[in-house]
Symmetry: C3
Subunit: 179 residues, 3 copies
């Protein structure tokens, strides 16, 4: 029971970054940010940062870097800007600041959501690590953001804990070691 | 009915580029180009450009860039040069000219065709966007090109329309928004 | 029968590289290297090189490059350093030395092993080609390394043979051409 309570004591410090031109100008209500926030709180994460910014590559890079470099959050979940529209630039901004890519996270997201709609293949979302912060892109619609987060929410805590050095991958007694 | 006829009026301007040393020298008949062409015409696309070129990285880069920069086509489908042979260089030429990668398209192609043959995992095909043109690599054999195109032909029109600004991802009444 | 014996005469020269800080200091027994070695020998490969090195990016790059450039092996299988721990750097070292990436190999590995554990999505493993040598990353635990190698062991010989020019992709009578 002790290890259980220890587990529950580790709260993932989570930043939710909505990337939307219209949202940043107040022309559209941000619906996907709150969806992500609620889902993360339900697994015990602590939301430490929320912001809505425009689809500007340099601004996105700056904010992702700052959160990671200042250790403000263990996890940054972005929503929006992952599609084919001219202004969609979130994946490129993410690739520009991560030090290690995590291709398996968007692969699993796309594979799982393909069963909902074949257009899931058009998501250009990425995931990666900068310092000790995991960054994952999600699409901008609340429905798609929810479905995509559902595909990986179960594995996020394990990844973040290894990243933070809370657990090692070769911990004795651990079942699925070392992926 | 009006929106239906509008839909049908948008013809995807498609370029089919066969990349093959032997094909470019006339030593092998190009069979995969015609397969792709026919499949695209069947969904109402308009073939605006066809060419057979050798597996030369700089030549491939030049032609892909030119078609995209001059807005000659909304979509470029390449066939050939995606494997393990020494001269296979299509994915690297594609990566060198695209501004935004679309990893989910080759992921879906490989996932779908793995059920046909495990060797589908050896395809190094890529997809991405340059300006307002979507570029997708396909393998060189007619059979594999057909199977791979079948995996994504359904989603190509939606992607191209968003890219061209014909529809927005958050269009009211649209079902599968914002991937 | 002749082509069968020809097939068997081609032995894949295989290097197995264990990447582990603890292993390199003798603080942990290398269990995954022997697993990979045995599985490869079972399909007729010849182990030409084995080493255990620390998670040092420059050292990994140097050894991968040297084996490929000196044609010491047709295939390099690495184990370890593919996860989220601070020192895990094998995928980045691999990306830095390969000339052509093979995204479909780690995609198939992750897709197949996701049915064993969802944490397979956290593997950051990569695969690619340098000169005529195929390099594939595997995780560091013996169980995960075995499961991941099982996902692609069937297709490795075909890939290596094309890479070495032993067979061409368009060989007459070959069934699954040109992926």
């Amino acid at each position: 029971m002790e290890s259980m309570s220890e587990k529950n004591n580790f709260k993932i410090k989570t930043a939710v970054l909505t990337i939307s031109d219209k949202g940043s100008r107040g022309e559209r209500k941000d619906l996907s940010g709150p969806v992500i926030k609620e889902m993360m709180e339900n697994i015990g994460a602590k939301i430490v940062y929320e912001e809505i910014i425009a689809d500007e590559k340099e601004d996105i890079k700056e904010i992702l870097s700052r959160i990671a470099d200042q250790k403000k959050a263990d996890l940054i979940l972005t929503t929006g800007g992952t599609g084919f529209a001219k202004r969609d630039i979130t994946p490129e901004a993410t690739l520009a600041v991560i030090e290690k890519e995590v291709p398996g996270i968007p692969e699993k997201i796309r594979a799982d959501t393909l069963s909902i709609t074949p257009q899931a293949a058009l998501s250009r979302a990425r995931a990666g690590i900068r310092k000790q912060t995991l960054i994952i892109n999600f699409p901008g619609s609340p429905k798609a953001a929810r479905e995509c987060l559902e595909a990986v929410i179960e594995i996020i805590p394990h990844g973040v804990k290894i990243l933070k050095g809370e657990i090692t991958e070769h911990q004795p007694g651990q079942k699925n070691k070392s992926f």
